[in-house]
């Protein structure tokens, strides 16, 4: 039996969040979530990432490494058809994030109540084929 690819991919440098997010989404939405720590990891799993329906991207992925905005551009360049959600600590001040917002990208600011987080992800899933 061929395993279904995860509908949700999550890019964040926090190991704790990467551990908790799949548990939360599996328990509430019954959806699998694949987590990645860096854009490099993201690219290494390009096929799986590009088939996902929702990509949740942290912006700040650590010092001197590509950030979530770079990941967003990479997804757009590779024809990602799903919904992108930025999940960040200081979204409003990044001009590139503001630019991405004009392209329909939603922004979630940490810390977000789990119910709200689930609601946004559920809505994003419902908007994608």
């Amino acid at each position: 039996m061929i395993k279904e690819p995860a509908k949700i991919v999550f890019l964040d440098d926090s190991e704790d969040l990467r551990a908790l997010m799949p548990v939360l989404l599996a328990s509430t939405l019954k959806e699998e979530c694949r987590c990645f720590a860096s854009l490099m990891e993201f690219k290494n799993h390009a096929e799986e990432v590009l088939r996902a329906r929702v990509a949740i991207l942290d912006i700040n992925l650590g010092p001197n490494v590509p950030d979530g905005v770079d990941a967003f551009h990479w997804l757009m360049e590779h024809g990602f058809q799903g919904k992108v959600l930025f999940f960040t600590g200081h979204a409003r001040t990044n001009p590139q994030v503001a630019l991405a917002q004009k392209h329909g990208v939603a922004i979630m600011e940490k810390p977000l109540h789990p119910d709200k987080l689930i609601s946004v992800v559920r809505h994003a899933l419902s908007e994608t084929p």
Partner: protein, 283 residues
């Protein structure tokens, strides 16, 4: 509390700005600017008096000694300014500038009448008028500049009124003292304009420094929030998962949730200040 503080801070800033605007005459030039002004004045006197000596030698009867002494004094002042150039001060520059002024005014008082009598093409108080304008341009402080302009004006005015014989006065300086007064007023206006401009430059520098400090603070807030928000999110998710687990210890989770609520409030205060700083930075 926060908004009251913001209002009072804005009021204080406005009062400070209006206070500064009405006290342009108290503006202190930088040590280097004051030193440069005094140096230009002394150099101008040294060169000017040497030219005066050359002119005087062609007019029999006019003594060259006052101009020579004044050129020598200016040279001494220049040497002093050069030696002390690494430790400039506004006070020393002002003293040097005033000594230079006294030296020039003394020469003019000693030679004006001789020129008026012996030189048919003498333009009345030309050097005095020039002194009024130069003082406005290079004086190391507002009050020093004003005093020197008044000294130039009153020395020539009193000389004209008291020491000039009536026939000489009617021959060579009939229109005086009005042109002299016009130059003195022009000098005062130029001086006011120069120090008003210096005041604006200092205010701009002050505002720019504040803006840099605000941007640094804004970045610090952003970094704090960025570092804080991911752990807060982890706690949020953990509380939710614990609450939904089969063996949830509700009282303990409530305690954590309560503490989490306090952290959320701290975060919202930071967000509020961050917005204020962004707004001030954009102004």
């Amino acid at each position: 509390m926060t908004s009251n503080n913001s209002v009072s801070a804005a009021d204080t800033a406005r009062r400070e700005r209006s206070g500064r605007a009405s006290r342009f005459y108290n503006i202190r030039l930088s040590e280097r600017d004051a030193w440069f002004g005094a140096t230009v004045a002394a150099l101008f006197t040294a060169v000017g008096m040497l030219i005066e000596v050359a002119i005087v030698r062609k007019i029999p009867g006019v003594s060259a000694k006052p101009a020579e002494v004044s050129a020598f004094v200016a040279l001494l002042l220049l040497i002093f300014l050069f030696i002390r150039r690494t430790t400039p001060s506004v006070r020393s520059a002002s003293v040097v500038y005033l000594v230079n002024c006294v030296s020039v005014i003394t020469v003019l008082l000693l030679t004006n009448l001789q020129f008026a009598v012996l030189e048919p093409n003498w333009v009345p108080f030309e050097a005095t008028k020039l002194g009024c304008l130069i003082a406005a341009m290079v004086a190391p402080g507002f009050w020093v500049g004003l005093v020197s302009i008044l000294a130039y004006f009153f020395s020539a005015f009193l000389q004209l009124e008291i020491f000039f014989p009536t026939e000489i006065r009617s021959q060579v300086a009939d229109a005086e003292p009005w042109p002299l007064l016009a130059f003195a007023l022009a000098g005062v206006l130029a001086l006011v304009y120069r120090f008003r401009r210096a005041q604006l430059e200092q205010e701009i520098a002050h505002i720019e420094a504040q803006s840099v400090a605000i941007k640094r603070l804004a970045n610090a807030f952003l970094n704090i929030r960025d570092l804080m928000n991911t752990p807060l999110q982890v706690i949020e998710l953990s509380i939710d998962l614990l609450r939904k687990s089969n063996h949830a210890n509700k009282p303990v989770i409530d305690r954590i949730d309560h503490s989490m609520q306090m952290l959320r409030e701290i975060n919202s205060v930071l967000v509020q200040h961050e917005k204020e700083i962004e707004w001030q930075t954009k102004r």
